[in-house]
Each structure stands twice: as structure tokens, then as C-alpha cells.
């Protein structure tokens, strides 16, 4: 049985990158007109679209008329609130993240329902990453909805969702303490490698790190496979470096977008 060659003879990976190279990244904020903030990011072959609506009034479930027909109204209200994630927090804004994987995004068509556990887990990770970063205390009793649509999947879901959400939130004008940049890193043949694609992440341990670039603080760290403790430090440093590179790309995109806006508005 031949072993999968993730690193070829010249030290190049399956897509021709070196061990410390990020995938080709393309990002553009302000792509949707209906959303308050939006962004489109491509990292290699993974494409993600983010839309942010908010801060807006908390959307209550539209099934409220059913309440009148049911005996135990309080229980139903609680159940419905749980389903629609409509929470009114008295001192800050409620952040709601929904990730949707398009059926044509993977090699095999899978109509992933919204309540697929894996997707809910990623959405929850994104929400927990942004909760301390977005200044929610400024918008009490309101809701910030972050919708992420993955159009093409080639590994790195969590990182591209976080990067896209960062750009979209900046585009929406919602104040944040800092950029949140995420990157994944792994270990192939005892060598730390940066930014894994789908083939690599299915075969090697993967570590995803989200960083605040200003003071190098880590907001998210996820690893779901076995990695030798000696390698951990190197892999984490590699991921942190990757996050800083991504920060430069995102920052450049934001500044160019604002320059365009200024040009257009000064006409």
C-alpha cells in the first residue's frame, strides 16, 4: 500500500507550496448590497461569503400565533426561543452565527442541514471567538447576525469563517477591539506546515489558531488529533506567523476598500 505523498521529493506539497507558505488569498469587503456588512474570501480553493446584519432588533419567532392555541404557553415560548436563538440580553448585544455549507461545495454532494453537529460546532466556535472582541456593551438588547456561506470547500473551514467574519464586521462598522485572524498549521513528516488544505487536514494533525495581531493574544485554539508535545510549540508558532500574514492581507483589503469609498463619495 503506497503512503500518501503529502510532501514531494523537492519539499513541495501537493499544491506546489513550501512548508511555510499560505494558500493564495483573495479577499474583498462590501460585496453584498442588502447586508449591513459583507465580505468574500478565497483561501486557495476554499471560498466563503460572509454577511453581517446588525445591530438590529432581536428577531422574535414568527410562529408566535401558535402560542394562543397551546396550553403550556411558557414552555412553548422557551422552546421557540431556544430554536430561534432569540435572546434579549439586557446589557449587551446577542451575537448569532449561522454557517451554511452549499450542497455543491464538497466533492460529494451532501445536503448538510443547518443543525448538522459539525457545522453547529464551528458556528459556536466562531461565536465564542467574537463575543469578547466585538464591543457588544454598546448595543444592549440588540442582535448581531453573522451569516457565513461556504461556496467551495477545500479545508480550513474554521479559519476562513473567522477571517471572513472579521472583514464583514469591519465592513458593517461594528466596533471591535482588534482584527481576529485565524490560520491552521499541521505537522507532516515531523515538519510543521502552514495552512492545510482538505487533503492534508484529513491525514495530519491540524491546529487552528485565531490571533489578535496587535498584542499577539490567542483567542481560539483548536486541535482534534494527536500531536507530539515537542512539536506543539513549533506548530503553534507557525500558525501564529500565518495569522500575522493574513492580518496584512485583510488590513490591505480594508484600506483599499475605504480608499475606493472615499474616492466615490468625493465626486
Amino acid at each position: 500500500m503506497s503512503r500518501l505523498e503529502l510532501i514531494g521529493p523537492q519539499g513541495l506539497r501537493t499544491d506546489g507550496r513550501r512548508f511555510n507558505e499560505l494558500r493564495n488569498m483573495n479577499c474583498k469587503p462590501s460585496v453584498l448590497s442588502q447586508a449591513d456588512g459583507s465580505a468574500y474570501i478565497e483561501q486557495g480553493n476554499t471560498k466563503c461569503l460572509a454577511a453581517v446584519y446588525g445591530p438590529r432588533e432581536v428577531l422574535h419567532c414568527s410562529y408566535s400565533f401558535i402560542l394562543n392555541y397551546l396550553i403550556n404557553q411558557i414552555l412553548i415560548l422557551l422552546l421557540l426561543q431556544a430554536r430561534t436563538k432569540a435572546q434579549v440580553l439586557h446589557n449587551r448585544a446577542n451575537i448569532n452565527v449561522e454557517i451554511s455549507l452549499a450542497p455543491f461545495s464538497m466533492e460529494e454532494r451532501k445536503k448538510r442541514s443547518k443543525s448538522d453537529k459539525r457545522i453547529l460546532e464551528i458556528a459556536s466556535a466562531v461565536k465564542q471567538t467574537f463575543e469578547p472582541i466585538i464591543m457588544t456593551e454598546l448595543y444592549a438588547r440588540s442582535q448581531i447576525d453573522i451569516y457565513l456561506q461556504i461556496l467551495q470547500f477545500d479545508g480550513g473551514t474554521v479559519q476562513i469563517c473567522i477571517n471572513a467574519a472579521t472583514l464583514a464586521i469591519i465592513d458593517a462598522g461594528i466596533p471591535m477591539k482588534d482584527y481576529v485572524c485565524a490560520c491552521s498549521a499541521g505537522c507532516i513528516d515531523d515538519e510543521p506546515v502552514l495552512d492545510l488544505n482538505h487533503l492534508e487536514e484529513s491525514n495530519t494533525p491540524e491546529l487552528t489558531v485565531a490571533l489578535l495581531p496587535k498584542n499577539d493574544k490567542i483567542t481560539l485554539l483548536q486541535m482534534e488529533s494527536r500531536l507530539h508535545i515537542d512539536k506543539f510549540q513549533q506548530v503553534m508558532e507557525m500558525a501564529a506567523k500565518g495569522c500575522k500574514e493574513i492580518h496584512t492581507v485583510l488590513d490591505k483589503a480594508v484600506r483599499e476598500n475605504i480608499k475606493d469609498l472615499l474616492k466615490k463619495s468625493s465626486i
Partner: protein
């Protein structure tokens, strides 16, 4: 002149004037009416002007055929995936073509999260009817082995930005994605379907149909390609679908009555629109060839 009279009356009686944006929120119909009376629409278009339409082909590499269509701000992405399945017992030589439209909260604040809304289901069903009744592809070409295996083409349309006239965008996206579907050669052997790595088979479309949608305001003004604001104010609409020979494939008419003259105008405008869309898709195909 009629417009001036109305304004005079309002000023004399109430002496309240509003900023345009406030007026748009509290009296949307009247707001639109003021524009219509000047023979222009709020976004500056004339009644017969379609918004700028662009098509990008083969944008999703994981799909067997894909396209992205923008009509103004309305953006729809179509991805077609092919799978193998047993054909229907009643139609053993035919494959399946299954369209599905997804209107999710990402595209507009009017869509709430949850199961597909009525609008999304209606769109999916209309597309399904369009494909079946107009016989866009010969389903027998999707057959691999009679009675045993056939291709199922799942066409998933995701709307990412909703600014009115999603149906037209969906139809164009679906047709252009079908045009660039590439299937592998499949052979049925001993209960297993074997397919080649290379995707070389191009789907042959018998008929290519495009649609043109119209909104009707006050029973008399036909607005071509309504945007979201116009759609929500005018509940009446007409959608006409024609094919390459100019033949009528489908008509959907909703809301209050319209005259047969208006229907005739719609059909002839749909034919003109057909020619425009064909040239836009040609440009998209040329762009793909340049990259290849």
C-alpha cells in the same frame, strides 16, 4: 402636470413636507407613484430597462457545472452535482434533474432562518415545471443502464443577495450552469457503475429558455425587472419564459388583472431580452476560453 396638482393639494391641506427617505418608509406606494408619473423609476431606470446582467461560468470547481449570475444587485450562484441513482420504475430510461432554490437569511433581512420559506419552495417548483414542460434536456441522455442506473443532476441555486427578480436570475444561472456541466463517461458493470476520471461529456440541451419578469403598478404601468422595493410594493407580476425560437414556454401571471395588450408587450419584451442574455452568455463563454 397632474403631479403638480397633487403637490399643491397636499401643501394646502397639511403643510407637512417629508424628506424623501422618510416618505419612502411611510408611504411607499405614493413614493413610487410620484416617480412613475414622471416616467422614471426610483433607481433612475426607465420602465423598459433591465439592470446590468453579468454571468460568470465555472466558478465553483467542486461542482460539475456552475455559474454565477448578477442582475443589478441580485446575485444567484448555481452549482450542479451529478450522482448516480436507480431510475424511476415508470421511466426506466430517464435520469433526473432536480432544481432547488435556497433563499437564506444571508441574502436579505426579510428571510428568517429555518425551513425553506414559501417563496423559495415556489421558486423551486416553478423551475422544476419549467425544466419538465419545456424539455430543456432529454432525460434519456442521462441514462447509464436502462432500469438500473442513471445520472441525477442536483441543481442547487443559492441566492446570496436579494434585490428583486430572483426568478430571472435563477433561470439564467440554471441554464448557463447546465450548459457547462461536464460528466464523466460511465459504464454499468455487474451492479457497479464505473466512471472515468476525466469529465468529457457535455450535456446537450434541446432547448434553452430564459425568462423576463415584469411588475405591474396601478394596473397600467409595466415595470421591467423589478427591484426589491418595487416588488414589495407591487404585488402584481407577470413572468414570461421564451425559448431560442421565440416560442412561448411558460407564463406566470399573479395579482390583479391585465389586458391582453399588456401580455403581448410582455411577450415581445421577453423575446428581446432573450437576445441580450444570449450575447451576455457568449461573452462569459469567451472569457472561460481565454483562461483555458
Amino acid at each position: 402636470m397632474g403631479n403638480v396638482t397633487n403637490e399643491n393639494i397636499i401643501n394646502l391641506n397639511t403643510a407637512i413636507t417629508f424628506e424623501a427617505e422618510t416618505f419612502r418608509r411611510i408611504q411607499p406606494e405614493e413614493y413610487l407613484r410620484r416617480y412613475i408619473q414622471q416616467h422614471v423609476r426610483p433607481d433612475g431606470r426607465s420602465f423598459n430597462h433591465f439592470r446590468k446582467t453579468t454571468v460568470n461560468l465555472s466558478c465553483i470547481t467542486t461542482a460539475d457545472g456552475s455559474s454565477m449570475v448578477r442582475i443589478g444587485n441580485t446575485t444567484v450562484i448555481c452549482g450542479i452535482k451529478a450522482e448516480v441513482s436507480e431510475p424511476n420504475v415508470n421511466f426506466p430510461k430517464e435520469g433526473y434533474l432536480v432544481p432547488n432554490v435556497d433563499l437564506s437569511p444571508i441574502c436579505s433581512p426579510r428571510f428568517k432562518p429555518g425551513p425553506p420559506s414559501e417563496q423559495a419552495q415556489v421558486l423551486s417548483e416553478n423551475l422544476n415545471k419549467l425544466l419538465k414542460n419545456s424539455k430543456v434536456i432529454d432525460l434519456e441522455t442521462l441514462c447509464i443502464e436502462e432500469g438500473k442506473a442513471a445520472w441525477v443532476l442536483f441543481a442547487d441555486l443559492v441566492c446570496v443577495n436579494y434585490d428583486g427578480n430572483v426568478f430571472d436570475a435563477c433561470v439564467i444561472a440554471l441554464m448557463s450552469a447546465l450548459m457547462n456541466v461536464r460528466l464523466p463517461e460511465a459504464v454499468y458493470e455487474d451492479g457497479i457503475v464505473k466512471a472515468t476520471e476525466e469529465k468529457t461529456i457535455i450535456l446537450g440541451l434541446i432547448r434553452i429558455t430564459y425568462s423576463a419578469s415584469f411588475a405591474m403598478f396601478d394596473g397600467q404601468h409595466l415595470l421591467v425587472d423589478p427591484n426589491e422595493m418595487e416588488e414589495s410594493i407591487t404585488k402584481d407580476g407577470i413572468t414570461v419564459v421564451v425559448d431560442e425560437t421565440g416560442k412561448l414556454c411558460n407564463i406566470w401571471k399573479t395579482g390583479s388583472s391585465c389586458s391582453s395588450e399588456q401580455l403581448k408587450t410582455c411577450i415581445s419584451k421577453a423575446r428581446d431580452r432573450y437576445a441580450d442574455i444570449t450575447s451576455i452568455i457568449e461573452i462569459a463563454k469567451q472569457a472561460i476560453k481565454k483562461i483555458e
